[in-house]
Symmetry: C2
Subunit: 348 residues, 2 copies
């Protein structure tokens, strides 16, 4: 089969690799019908994360179950399934409380599992899915093609934006600030609106992203950054600050802004992988501003968000503004790297 | 009247000061019937916080209302009242969501108010209470003397331990770890137990404090610190970690321990004033461990905790193991400073 390989920084290619087969009785074999490129895929692509050797890449995909192992109970060949960006057993103590990203037997796509067996990346024609019952979420029927982008978005960005909103404890009627206008930040806007926030203030300097934010429910857009952004939110909230803040970038500047716009007692829900963040310890203490979040356990939210997509309540697939065949996966990366695209979808 | 003055580090004396009178129509005049010494009073006492000039001290007291200003609606002379450790108006946006410690018109006892008028400290015979309606909480009847220590504990330590448990999101059935065996940590144990925690693991190396912790509902005691404490909690929780953690010290060591014993997805509720803490940013992210808490808005919890004391559901006054007349307030400080007492009560 064909699968995407990152050979070295900026060297993305489609290569022939061995067809996957079932290894464990808890495995499923999935034919990928759509996959996408994540902002975090750009770190090794850009050489920010080291690329020691050519590696399979991609961790967001949907597809059709082709074959299941003898112990798989919840899936059948022909099922349309959504994969979260980590696999997990669904039964360990951490999975049982909904933190599947900390599953004691779980792991990432494209790396070795706990027995050292390589797991496929998501940007290929097929994926062997370990712990299939715990990992995959199926739809009752195979959905129409128009729904595929929104269902695919649930594999990472939408579940991650949702996690930021859950962690920030967004309540109906809240004023919510979302820092970050990437696909995750935009998904955070959609999440806050879906949870009933009365006011959603999106921070964005890009017209195309502002348009998606508005579509997703943003009521206000702040185009400035840093202290100016804090002043703008203060102005918009009569000096009170936001009831909940979603930090969807991960830089120190964005985190400091997120904390500064939080009203006393509010929580900053963060999902941006932290790069160089130092928390203002005394300020957090004196204003009772909490910090919650982390690697999003999107598996926890998949059933609920799947139903929201199928009912038309949310349409997170709007974050995809480029679609290419798998053969052109290199362009999918280049477009995101050069900021020509918010998020790229690839079709095997 | 007599009031306690901190003249310089370790120089605590009772001095004659002018009798307070009503200044604003929202003031009340309270005759203090019991006050106490806080762990945080020891910082200037020990010279850790600078003492620039002689200053009135004390921020925990209960007493009888003597006189109220023309605009005070909820209190009458003769009422028994509990004062939280900060005064607040009860009407500003932050008070309305229960973060009275961030009140836009509030402040600390013993310092200047926002108009520059000095506010009395709590360790004296009388206190002029600003914003009395927002600040004081009365009982329906004057309580018996046996209940006074427990009601007095609500002015700070019990409300602070409760805040740690609220911030840590303690739920019925939880396994909770409490780091710190001072009066606040012990109150945290009581709070977690009152909230229905099934297991409360207290960290304490002192037999007398362990005894209070057990009385308050601790089911397990861990006597070691640092990595050994983390290993002990791991052992007690089958490697899972605690569902909720209360950090009631404020040092970097205690915070790192609190974070390390939290299970993935758990929240560390912290109320110890941070001294030299650096958060392990990547570890918090990867395990979805949240940090919440800060200066406890004890005013929010006073009505509920008052009722719990009056009904006998909780007896936080057990943290007082020394009681002296106000004339001996210097001994109240010395005993706590030398760790001869967990917490000292003084009676004017």
């Amino acid at each position: 089969m064909k699968a995407t390989i990152l050979g070295a920084p900026r060297d993305i290619r489609l290569e022939d690799v061995p067809d996957p087969t079932l290894v464990a009785p808890t495995d499923a074999l999935v034919r990928v019908t759509a996959a996408c490129v994540c902002g975090s895929d750009l770190w090794p692509y850009r050489g920010i994360n080291e690329v020691a050797e050519p590696t399979r890449i991609g961790h967001e995909f949907v597809g059709i179950v082709e074959e299941v192992g003898a112990e798989v109970r919840s899936l059948r060949p022909g099922d349309f399934v959504i994969a979260p960006f980590k696999y997990s057993d669904g039964t360990c103590p951490h999975c049982r409380v909904g933190i599947q990203t900390s599953c004691v037997r779980g792991g990432f796509w494209g790396g070795p599992d706990r027995d050292g067996v390589m797991v496929d990346g998501g940007q290929g024609e097929y994926v062997r899915v370990p712990l299939a019952d715990g990992t995959l979420v199926a739809t009752r029927e195979v959905p129409g093609d128009d729904l595929v982008p929104s269902l695919l978005a649930l594999s990472d960005v939408m579940g991650t934006g949702w996690h930021a909103a859950v962690a920030a404890r967004v309540q109906e009627g809240d004023t919510v600030v979302v820092v970050g206008d990437g696909a995750v930040g935009l998904s955070g806007v959609l999440s806050a609106a879906r949870m009933g926030a009365e006011r959603v203030i999106a921070m964005s300097r890009h017209a195309s992203r502002q348009a998606i934010a508005r579509e997703f429910g943003a009521t206000d857009v702040v185009e400035v950054r840093g202290e100016d952004a804090v002043a703008a939110v203060n102005e918009l909230t009569d000096g009170v600050g936001a009831d909940a803040v979603l930090e969807c970038v991960g830089t120190d500047e964005s985190m400091q802004t997120a904390i500064a716009v939080a009203r006393p007692g509010a929580t900053v829900g963060y999902v941006g992988v932290p790069h160089g963040i130092e928390y203002p310890v005394r300020d957090l203490f004196s204003r009772n501003v909490g910090i919650a979040g982390g690697v999003a356990p999107v598996r926890q939210y998949l059933p609920q968000l799947r139903d929201d997509v199928l009912s038309g309540a949310i349409n997170p697939g709007l974050v995809f503004d480029l679609e290419v065949p798998l053969a052109d996966v290199a362009e999918a990366y280049a477009a995101m790297d050069e900021r020509r695209a918010v998020k790229s979808l690839v079709r095997p």
